[in-house]
Symmetry: D2
Subunit: 373 residues, 4 copies
């Protein structure tokens, strides 16, 4: 049953397969009056585009996004916004051998078990290409966040064994993350980025692949976003990030480190400074009781190594017989760098949704809006 | 706006504050014909109950669950099932000093920022007591899973620095997890359980608290559960677990370990054995492309140390003035052991929801059900 | 699957059967800061209560509503509000003969066909008593509407052949509807109310029952409520009213009369008066393109005659054998008068939901709320 | 906030404006394995197409539907199905005068009040063209219904004062409704169809417009469809039909006639015939307690006369000044005939949704599906 929609208030529904004519999404619930054009969206898609560096696939895709509805004279109208990206570089011969053989680490087997039918061309619906539609939708959410003074940005903080230390990360500022978009692995430390790229090259030579970690930061979030109990900010970020293929762990704030901490270390003392509430530390990653506390939000997504590797692998065919698979075609040896903008998109969609959800939190908000109506 | 409902098909809505007259939930969408009585639910609530061991609070709560609707002559009728648990042991004097002071690491500050009003008695809606309602609902989900041959169980696998190794964990079987319910920390290794209890005692003496990890395993899940793209099995498990207060990281299968693995190590080879599909390893934790693959599902939730500690802490008051807070009352020095059954409940609710969601996956399923109608 | 929840933003989930221990609902999404106590709710339940006049059943029910959560120091907190009404006057012997015989015009047969099991005591979930929970939830919605200057009221405008003419209806003001609550049929014309009561008495003497029409008016609704395409104000009012048992037709504004009108008669000319937009007529019933236009909203619900009549009726038993049924017990000979407050409740819930939905309609609304955050 | 999605299980999200580049929809939740191609959808769109008879607008639209995703080798895959219809015949000059003047009876004024911005070209989002996307989605639902032996068809049963009597309607069979598609008003009585066409022509000569009634029948629906309380079959049909622009009343079964009936007349006696449950009459329109009873489902939608008429009308401009509007362009003098296929589409979508919802009604259904999994 339907699982292609994310969000309840700012709602995106994606569609499309890797080798169909196009893919896209419908964004419903975007407030009217937001300035928006294709030029606002394209830069995000360009960042996801393959073929931009040595570590990503050489497959050439244009990924030009078209706005088909919901925008009039440069502004959103409140009507659903339909976005479409044509698939222009499918080579249908590339994936033919996958029609009846299940790639280990992929969704081939589970798709067949669920639906009894599978569009095997390029991974079909489970292809990483599906995230192009999320990035396009996320770019609209980002436009909304920016308009409200919220800044959201991500980068790769680990590739295989090459990991930025807590100290290095603490020293990184927004500018470092932005600048990282220019290096091949999108890592906000130029030196380590080179190390990481070298490691990926080693994996590629070994016909193997590498994992990685993407960190996303969100500054300027008003306190109080997140809904009680099940739609907590961290819960929805958790869903958002785990919905990205290849993510196997998600951390909020100090994440897995909290287990070794004591309460006296983990609690963030609260202070008052220049008329504002501040915290001495941010172990919580900006979220308390499922709601934003006004401090920087910090999340991490852990990506497994690309399952498509160029080594012989034991697997089975659709008919149940065992076989050895040798994958051909073009595949990135690492997912994380290209996933940076996908992580940003999913976090932006989550925030946009909760900004709208929170509009009804207090009766005084309703009085404020309806006073002049 | 509303965030108190989990699930789309098997849907639970919880309500209630720590110090109100009662708390409870409504479970809507449970299939008709499932045998159910209060005796099926109470054991789960008893496992969550405080005061059962040295490491949990001595506060005495009966937590007797009542079924108010949806069950007739021992079976569910398809109507919503309303469950209620009376609050019997509130001491309203205990929390009075929290009316205007924000506890670090708690939701006090964010609640006030969101709603402008806060039921401060015992944490109100953000109290751990809210999870009693989830446990009751989860017990119904568990009844459904058991009926379909699915077995779900959890235990504590780390308390502070005391962590079960991968080897120890691999050696643990279902029986070890069940037996662990008898030890104070619910750890499926009796020796380490003693170490863990000792560590907690040390923390308590230091007026401090400890973190922990809960692992949940699910056996017998049919392949293909999980919906495309956003409602993936892992995505919904992510939401489910992060919705539990104090969870700061969630892992699926090998989790954070995947970053250091290569594709050739992380992929699980597929084989055919005795007419069934099996995997040589289970790095994936039983989930591929967001769907169950028929292997054991393994998830981990990382809990931060209890934020309520008996040391003076810097914080602010509602009026913005800085102050030093000394918390009184009864608080567990660790969250994880009592959270084991909450983790089980949330995983069971997720599975029940996806079992129902999957009923419409194929047109042949509809033909099968409506053939005789 | 779940159907017990109404609304997306202001969300009510009802539960409970006629002869269980209690029934109630959970209201999730009510804005924080709304003054609320049981005294605000009870009057609505008292209006639904049977035994208050000659035309309603003599069954005595107290219908005392308890607030179990979500209210603190006289105000809503933003947490879910749980309401419970105990069933105090069940006579379980009354309905025993219905365990295996299907009452014509009732849900007995369809319940069994859907679920394979049925709580036959007093109609179980399909009993009119279920609406007590809606009335309680609707009373909260009404409190919200009143706070924003919206006034909503309903009355009976037809009982069988006794119908108020368009002219009479046009002459009725809010006060007439309020005053009508004192007459046995809740009809805002005292003379016709007597006629209607006499007609009902005739039906009762014939061991038969009567139909009726309830009209609901809503004044002071800001223009623009209602969401595009599927969640139009009229579409959701349609769902709301048809969800009440026994409703077989719903009209908006001129309703069925529009078929005989020409466009030049049906269009409401727009004018400007004292700086406000006004309409020369209100054939539209205050709704244009699925959104409120600022004029009075007018809807009508048509109720079929009570299916429980005291005449022998042909029907079948659960085992398929034909039989003749003679219903015993206490049953109103007409549904409409007691349904007036239920219609009000469903309309109030719809409006409250759309008031919240509309909070995110414009980016300038978000700027207004988050400017100081 | 979002209102462009209908259904919870079989879910359609529409998008697009009258004068944008295209319009379309995404259908999520369609079971895998359903044979589907563009050839299955186009006939429905052709029936909605204008310019096919004297009573509809002469505007020429091709309305060619493209399937962009979710279908592979002639079958649905379980992935979202994206449908697109290009707008090929916009004459942007036609509607320019509507940028700042509100048409009476249209959504112009309310759109501006809600969103503060409006795509005025051809009615934008509120244009009747939006229903093309519904028809395309409805055609998929229809394919699903047909596969399960359900037959759904509609026709015009009244145009202005020309109304088919109850007797005539009772005599009409499915074939008459199908044949009616060939006459200009889609009325299943050839003689009356001519009368109706003549009446419309009179209205057109008077520069005026006419209302009408569309009846939809559904045969072969299994008993038990419809969810408890709020998602009743009739409640969702009510929402579905009122979501069509210009619908001002909806009737189920005998509809508004029930008010004048007595219980003894309205109840449908139940019998057993040839091993099947049958009803002596069908006043209920095939729905009892919100669930299908296995008999024919009958619903009626009442359409107001087209608000676009060629007479001078009093209205206001965006700046609040009063003015007299003379509408130009091409407009049907009646909505009902072209809305027949839209009514069919909305009813089909409702049924498809409830067929899926019902799959989880009984634990034995889950056992049946998961037994072999």
């Amino acid at each position: 049953m339907p699982g292609s929609t994310f969000g309840k208030y700012f709602r995106v529904t994606t569609w499309g397969e890797s080798h169909g004519p196009a893919l896209g999404c419908v964004v419903d619930g975007c407030p009217a009056g937001l300035p928006l054009s294709e030029a606002d969206l394209q830069p995000y898609l360009d960042r996801r585009k393959p073929g931009t560096s040595a570590v990503t696939t050489s497959r050439k895709e244009e990924d030009l996004v078209e706005i088909l509805s919901g925008v009039f004279e440069g502004k959103t109208t409140g009507a659903p916004i339909s976005l479409m990206i044509r698939n222009t570089s499918q080579r249908s011969g590339d994936y033919g051998n996958l029609a009846d053989t299940y790639r280990p680490g992929h969704a081939d087997y589970t798709f067949d078990r669920k639906y009894g039918i599978r569009d095997y061309r390029g991974g079909g619906r489970s292809s990483g290409r599906e995230t192009a539609a999320r990035v396009a939708a996320g770019a609209i959410a980002m436009q909304l966040l920016n308009t409200l003074g919220i800044s959201l940005y991500a980068g790769t903080v680990a590739i295989g064994p090459v990991r930025m230390s807590a100290e290095k990360l603490a020293a990184c500022r927004r500018e470092d993350f932005i600048r990282a978009r220019e290096n091949a692995v999108v890592m906000p430390d130029a030196e380590m980025a080179k190390e990481a790229a070298a490691y990926i090259e080693t994996c590629r030579m070994q016909r193997d692949s590498a994992g990685g970690i993407v960190e996303c930061r969100i500054d300027g979030v008003p306190a109080g976003l997140g809904e009680t109990v099940f739609d907590k900010l961290d819960a929805l970020l958790g869903q958002a990030l785990f919905s990205i293929g290849a993510v196997k762990a998600v951390e909020i704030g100090d994440g897995v480190q909290v287990v070794g901490q004591k309460g006296s270390e983990n609690n963030d003392p609260i202070r008052r400074k220049d008329g504002k509430t501040v915290f001495d530390s941010n172990h919580a990653g900006g979220i308390l009781g499922g709601m934003s506390n006004g401090d920087r939000i910090v999340v991490k997504a852990h990506f497994k190594p690309t399952p498509s590797i160029y080594q012989p692998q034991d697997t089975i065919k659709k008919d149940g017989s065992e076989t050895v698979l040798e994958i051909v075609g073009r595949h990135d040896p690492v997912v994380a760098p290209r996933a940076v903008v996908v992580v940003e998109a999913m976090c932006a969609l989550t925030l946009a949704d909760l900004l709208l959800a929170n509009m009804g939190a207090r009766i005084e908000y309703l009085r404020k809006i309806y006073a002049d109506a």
